[in-house]
Amino acid sequence: MKEELGASRRKLEGELRNLVGNIFVPEVKVFGMACGCVGYAADLRGLQSDDVDVFKAKINAILSELSKSVGVEPEFIYARKLPGSEEVVTLTARELCERCKREFAGSKASPRPDIVVLKKRR
């Protein structure tokens, strides 16, 4: 896991730099929540929501691959923006618990205005 995480950080940063330019990925992590969700998240600097729109398919493919590499099924992939701005600060791939399938990923609208949904498995 240690090797995969370190490698995934480098790979994500490299791929995003190829697509967009100067992107910094200070941290990636695998998390488990009290509700039952597990996920893979990357903190980012330099990415904006326009970039995410343009490269959505590619970002989904990268996130899917990297989250699978650490054992997380990428059921729901999303970007989180800095509230009230277009700066994307986190990319997350999440394997959802039953409640979050309905509550967080179950609306037609994005669950919150700071969340940009990139992929939702129906």
């Binding site: 009290a34 509230p83 009230g84 509550e103 609306s107 037609k108 609208a109 994005s110 919150r112 205005p113």
Partner: protein, 333 residues
Amino acid sequence: MQLMIPHPGHFPALKEIIEVKEAEGLNEVGEVFMGGSPEVMGSGRGVLHAPLIDEIKAQTEYAHQHGIKMHIVMNSTCTGAHHLTFEGYKMFKWYFNELNKADVDGVIVAEPYLVELLREFPMKTIVSVLSYVESPQRAKFFEELGADVLTVDTNINRHFDVLKAIVKAVNCEVKLIVNEGCLYRCPFRYSHYNLASHLSSLNQPRFPLFAPDFYYDKCINIRLRDPTQITKSGWIRPEDLKEYEAIGINTFKLSGRTKAVNWIIDCMRSYSHRSFKGNLLELLDCPQLLRDMFYMDNDKFDGAIEHWKKCRKVCGECGYCNELTKEALTIIK
């Protein structure tokens, strides 16, 4: 009864809230509220969306087409006295004018100066819960400043004698927030909202903060060590709304504009139906985090309102909430 529903701010969320209201005939839902521009002012909650006037206008028009009123929250508790500068005064006046031109129905404010400033506009002046209206005296003060609606301090949600006195003292509408789970008589309340007001505006505190969530973390820790504090908060069960209607309060507000759309919709359903089965913490805006730690069986709170209606809130002598918590609360394994 009329319900005011939180709106996270993005247009698709408003459409979904209204779609459910209409499909399920939730006729009690009459109003929504969302944050305004953080460039003009912060608010008591984090701002997740910064709508421009054109967007507010479009959303208001949509809400109106569906018979829903639109209110904008500008309830910062501290502007750093910006409103008392000529530049600030002109900006607030300009923004209120723009909201008015966008056909917004009401503005939710906490700052008394802005309550007065809003007199110049036909929009409703809705005094925020963050004006801490907790007595007939204070209610009267705000009414005289120009309030059309008073959202009273949730600390008195279970002080029926005070609520009755407020209803009697003023002519304006009295509104209660039903699903805020803040600590009863919280020592952090003023400090926390001042901090949130700064963090959600351009009027930022000095950086770096070593603990931007200091008060929230303290508040969660207090409840973990003493879960009775959750019982003692001023939340109102959907089943108990009728007790408030009986004393002349008919409009209720749901808290939760920073939460997921489907969570908001679930709460809207429960309060519209006046009924909920399950973990009460599922309904509370704050402390939502604890719903995965504690299970509070809503059924076990049947009839508790009868005690709270006459309770003197001298907890050391009473112990009712302690006993009730032992009976109703379990730790989720």
